[in-house]
Symmetry: C3
């Protein structure tokens, strides 16, 4: 199992990290994270280079960590600053430190080639700080599934009708075609369902009862971030495709962190332009999202178990798979590119969301 | 691990299958079974050929199954009848369907070469429907053991004295020789213990207290069905070998279903010529069988764990092993025969039991 | 994973073995042990050579064991004395028997070349029976860790300051150098911490409050026995190195039994020259040892998990590692020696402890 390493991944919500030493597993690496005395975050390889004890089982000494076995001490850059019983500190005595960046309550980490880590490349969108919008953090959902299967699900509008019939989809959309295009490292799959019954979500939060026009835009930013722009407006408004802000509009954000080959964390949140001062609405939406994402989890974990069995024939691909297929191809290319060290000279384009 | 595939295996008791979609694992294949509106049973490969979601997690649409991920729909022959979002149905869009046959409350399945599946080959015996006999279904006993070890136990009269001293055996038989012969695909191991104390089972159900003549005939129908004909009669009756119907006679039937390499289900039942109108006797016999079969389970699961460890030397074979050795040799031949596609032209002989 | 086999290992405390058939796993071998009618202990391969059922699931017949499947019976030397259903007893019908020796409440076993098993080579020390000393048996601590990692910890005085700060170590010793030497198959690592605060242990059992001289001598007898000689005396006594008996002195003994590659039992006990008539002191010391050894267990099990992951770089070695490195090198040599059958003619030197 390989991962795309030259990318910023979400390591945690800001609220998950405090003064304590905590282990996180990211891209199959054990990493200890903690908040330094200045409030910024340190992220170190969570294993002492001497006898391999996790540093997260050690003790903080100011901003340094002292290993719990023989007291070797590392500063927050991973440099060894003390070896009890000897005065020389060999150059091999270090742990890897990882670039970390915190923004909008989200902690980002970079496990690849350090020189390529540029915080300006971190995903952002203006609605995070726009006063007409509300950003609300959700959960960290653990799935026993490979991250590509999870990502695939997030560029796949077609499953909504079948997996989420009571919340995010309904039968009206079953046969509506899906459009797919790419914009740089972003894959977009979308469709409009016009003049149809409102889905459960917007019955509740838009107060819709008559027919609506409904849209789903799935933006999958390779390798691990999905933004689902969905919303509804009265059919009588006859909304144009670029007038979505006039309707009830929600961005559901999913930040995927590959933990291991078959374990992924989906940290999800949303940004909305409706009921932005209503905290009860946030909780109520979370409750609906939890129902829907548990449905995805059940599907994806069952699929992972099947994929781990010997196969007798290749899976088939159907028309709605265009987004997932583009995604998998791009992931393969990126991994191959890193593998062959042909890591180009052009900087990775920033994942800045724009409408 | 290979299995003999060109054979009818018991998939379930009839009572285990209803309108719901249920997964069964048989010969390491995942199979979804359900009762159609006409009451007959459908058995399909339990994995959608698209993204591998088990169909058993989907939804019934009449006699069809709609996959729970993207709504691909299969009829009860495995043919795809709908792919949402597209009109053409490619020939690769199908799931395997399995021949199934139901008789005497037992569901049989065939996972091998479909053309060879002939319901006339399914095991039967006239006592199932003979009014002088009572057929009583027992349990589905799960054993964490390879099916050949379980089968071996069922053509092995010698273990009864040691494993089942309070129910099916006693010390009187410890040294009585076992006869073994073959009749087509059936291996028979038997012995008579004459003029000895009755075993626990027949003290209880024959009311015997004085010495009896006791017989055990083990019929093992390759690959997976055992019929144990055992009974007792007063020694004073001096019963001939072919007069067993004159004594208290019980057929203990064992239908083995290999689940995986190290997991087997033994569905057991009995047919008897004594106390045939006495339901309490059935329950009481089941209780005794449960004690005995749990003893077998403990032995067979411990053996499986040992077999899964590296061996330093080959197991030895002793005189009483003739039945098991014939069985293992025959299984090897059948698997080899299927492997080499030399699947003969002569039909498999029917496993019809006759005395 | 290989083990040094030509050595006596502790199989059990004497109190762990009685008339019942009990399975022990030692050097990845399953062994059934029981006390014969004469009180001595039999140790046999715990698997019938016929169908591999563990003999520990069988039945005692006097000093023999009858297998629970078909009644094959073995005497306490492993010889088959009965096969029901046949009169000849083939020479292949046997189980391995292991040399066993019991002394000071400890059961020793030898799984290697039987001809080399000499009870005179078994570890002993005169204080076991000296009336000025008290020998007190502790627990059998299970660690999910390879035995070499456990042994390494027992020739490593440096970890005490960091792993056991409340019981066996304190900060005073953090930077005191460790001396290492070898005496035959024994590795010795030691240091004196002079004129320092007493550690928790001797505050409690020596009543010390003023500064003391403290010593730790770690004797590691390859492959699996550690004796830790530690103690304290008032600094004002100015104790010489060979006058340790004049202070409060404790021998902590650790008998390591490799169970499997990643599972070790540490049976620990102590012998002391202080409070020898005070049973409450024994219990109180055990309580302290339990705290300390649980701390070691936590460290060693975490390390085992890290060692079982793929490594990106080799662990580094530091000054305090001399003892562990000598130990690992010696283990490799012994395993290689056994592997190449160049099992020398000179007898293994006895592990007799002397001061």
């Amino acid at each position: 199992m390989e991962f795309v390493r030259n990318a910023w991944y979400v390591a945690a919500w800001s609220s998950e990290i405090d003064d304590d030493l905590r282990r996180f597993t990211i891209l199959d690496e054990h990493i200890v994270m903690y908040r330094k005395t200045d409030g910024t975050i340190a992220a170190l390889e969570d294993r002492c280079p001497h006898r391999l004890l996790p540093l997260s089982l050690g003790t903080r000494k100011g901003d340094d960590i002292q290993c719990g076995y023989h007291g070797m001490t590392f500063d927050c850059d991973g440099k060894c600053v003390r070896i009890p019983g000897q005065s020389n500190l060999p150059s091999s005595a270090y742990v890897v430190s990882y670039p970390v960046h915190e923004r909008h309550g989200i902690v980002w980490i970079w496990t690849g080639d350090r020189e390529k880590a540029d915080p300006d490349d971190i995903f952002d969108m203006p609605e995070f700080t726009d006063p007409d919008w509300l950003a609300h953090h959700g959960d960290a959902l653990h799935l026993k599934a490979n991250y590509m299967n999870v990502a695939e699900n997030l560029v796949d509008p077609a499953h909504v009708s079948f997996v989420h019939p009571t919340t995010l989809g309904n039968a009206a959309s079953e046969n509506v075609p899906v459009h797919v295009s790419t914009e740089g490292e972003t894959i977009v799959a979308w469709r409009w369902i016009r003049d149809a019954e409102p889905i459960g979500f917007f019955r509740k939060f838009g107060g819709f009862t008559d027919n609506v026009d409904r849209w789903h835009y799935y933006y999958l930013h390779t390798p691990s971030i999905a933004v689902i722009d969905f919303g509804s407006a009265p059919t009588t408004d006859n909304l144009a495709e670029d007038e979505r802000n006039k309707g009830n509009r929600i961005f559901a954000l999913h930040f995927l962190t590959p933990v291991t080959r078959d374990h992924t964390i989906d940290r999800w949140m949303h940004i909305r332009n409706t009921a932005i001062d209503d905290e009860a609405a946030s909780e109520s939406m979370d409750a609906m999202f939890r129902i829907a994402f548990q449905e995805d989890k059940d599907v994806l974990e069952a699929i992972q178990q099947e994929e781990d069995r010997p196969a007798k024939r290749r899976p088939i691909r159907i028309a709605i798979d265009k987004g997932p297929m583009v995604y998998r191809k791009r992931i393969s290319e990126l991994i191959e590119k890193e593998r062959t060290q042909d890591l180009a000279s052009s900087p990775t384009p920033a994942y800045v969301y724009h409408d």
